[in-house]
Amino acid sequence: MTTATATPGTQPRFEPALMRRKMNGTIFYGACLLAIAILILALIALLLNVVVVGLPWLDPQFITGMPSRRPTQTGVFPALIGSIQLALIVGAITFPIGIGAAVYLAEYAPDNRITRLLQTNISNLAGVPSIIYGIFGLAVFVRLLGLGPVLFSGAATLALVILPLVIIASIEALKAVPQAQREGAYALGASQWQMVRGSVLPAAAPGIMTGIILAMARAIGEAAPLVVIGAATFVTSLPQPLQGGFTVLPIQVFNWAQRPQADFQGVAAAAIIVILVLIFILNLLALIVRARLSRHIQW
């Protein structure tokens, strides 16, 4: 594109090679569309592959059945219940801590070194690979606190994985609340906490709740930290949070997908379909909660 710029010594012309320059633009736009086409194709191939391989195995017996060494008789019920319990416990842990941390950082924290340290630390934690959290969970929850490789240890570990994401999303939501909202509450004589609880939090609730639900969806699909803390792969009883082995859907998928036999690949794909449906439901829930909570908000 040397013709496009007027370099010293050459005569600048008004429309140097405009046709060719526009042509380059069209080619580039074509490349952008091609990139999107590749992504769409990859996504379709991925989903189609899972559905084609997995759908024949997806029957009521698979959903409600216990695992078996034989793929034709196996089921994912303990893993499904494990995943749902896990998501609920993760949500229950993340909800108070995530909102509390976000409220402190967005509403209370003075602008000093400690605050900046807390903020930097949270964004750094968001970048730590989840498998490292697994090692932390193994050392602290499983060994130090002596909980063992139980569902609660897994949930606590996953809660730590998603906390930075929840805190960052909640801070964004709190910062989007207009300042007038706070001043209005103070004008009515509210204390700082009354202001936060009665005025700011309800206004930020749609954003915060969406963040938490989407983070729970992420936790449902996460497997690496659970492999490290020692989730079992063959569990024939329903998990109890504080005792006994547990398994979850992504662990089941991992276990089956490692085996080359077509039947095991089939049940792995079927379990993936169950995970994707769960994640879809949570995304839908996030949309509904968001719409409901923002009904009364107007600014």
Partner: protein, 301 residues
């Protein structure tokens, strides 16, 4: 912060102080997590170094944790990790950047309504699903006929991780491009530049720190990615940069050790922590550099 400017004349009651303390505790929990991670990794890595010479560990290129003679040369795992991450970046960077340009510069509503949901869906897919896709479809149906690779290859892992990091690159880059002031674009148009020239010579150079930040952060994600890689790349640690061969990444080794029957005090189990330490330091360094670039583009305009 802003609320602090409003002065209260009455002394704050004790209940208010307790609440603030609780909120502070929630925010400070992350510090404990960080300290915990660092202490665990350092203590166990030092124990490992009492058995294996740290210099042999950091400079050795042969890794054999389960077959005698035991060798712990971490470069074999680091090379596998970097190989997968580099392939991922070669795929994720053009896809993510072009999507970002489409979203930020060319976005008609019609294009946006397709591109955004596609990227969000990819971002929401659990990584284990991408691993399954790699060994169930990508490797046997596409890569094997094309390149004659085995079921496990760095290439297969790199491709799925590349797809995985595309939404991340796209969203941060789009952010950076949107932060470029309109005036810059309009100035270029006034000089007679075409749309493509504006994108290439004005928007991209102006957004370069954000684009760099997104690529480095994606690299960090790729280095730390576990489940997509474990299934796809195999369990054969070797110091090789041939994408068609089976390798082992640091994350995949950690999974192999915790899945196996390794006893907890053994040198194999301790090596897990040393590998995790290398992984932690690598991703941490990448995150720091990425954050530095983000700060640069946020303050630029």
């Amino acid at each position: 912060m802003a609320a602090q400017q409003i002065q209260l004349t009455r002394r704050r009651p004790w209940s208010e102080r307790i609440i603030e303390l609780l909120l502070f505790a929630a925010a400070a929990l992350g510090i404990l997590t960080t300290i915990g991670i660092v202490v665990i990794l350092v203590v166990q890595t030092l124990q490992f170094f009492q058995i294996v010479n740290p210099i042999d560990f950091l400079t050795g290129t042969v890794w054999s944790a389960s077959i005698q003679p035991y060798k712990f040369g971490v470069l074999a795992l680091v090379s596998g990790t970097l190989l997968v991450a580099i392939i991922a970046m070669l795929i994720g960077t053009p896809l993510g950047l072009l999507s970002a340009i489409l979203l930020s510069e060319y976005s008609s509503n019609r294009v946006r309504n397709v591109v955004k949901p596609v990227l969000e869906t990819i971002a929401g897919i659990p990584t284990i699903v991408l691993g399954f896709f790699a060994i169930n479809f990508l490797s046997p149906e596409i890569l094997q006929p094309l390149f004659g690779v085995g079921l496990f290859s760095a290439l297969a892992g790199g491709i799925v991780v590349g797809i995985l990091v595309t939404p991340l690159i796209a969203s941060i880059s789009e952010d950076a491009m949107r932060a470029v002031p309109r005036g810059l674009r309009e100035g270029a148009y006034a000089m007679g530049a075409t749309k493509f020239e504006v994108v290439r010579k004005v928007v991209l150079p102006a957004a370069v720190s954000g684009v760099m930040a997104s690529i480095i952060l994606a690299m960090s994600r790729a280095v730390g990615e576990t489940m997509a890689v474990v299934l796809a790349v195999g369990t054969f640690p070797q110091f090789s940069f041939n994408p068609l061969e089976s390798v082992q990444t640091m994350t995949a080794f950690i999974v192999q050790i915790v899945q196996g029957e390794t006893s907890q005090g053994s040198v194999q189990f301790l090596s897990l922590f040393a590998v995790a330490m290398v992984l932690f330091v690598m991703t941490f360094a990448l995150n720091i550099v990425s954050a530095w670039f983000v700060r640069r583009y946020r303050t630029a305009y």
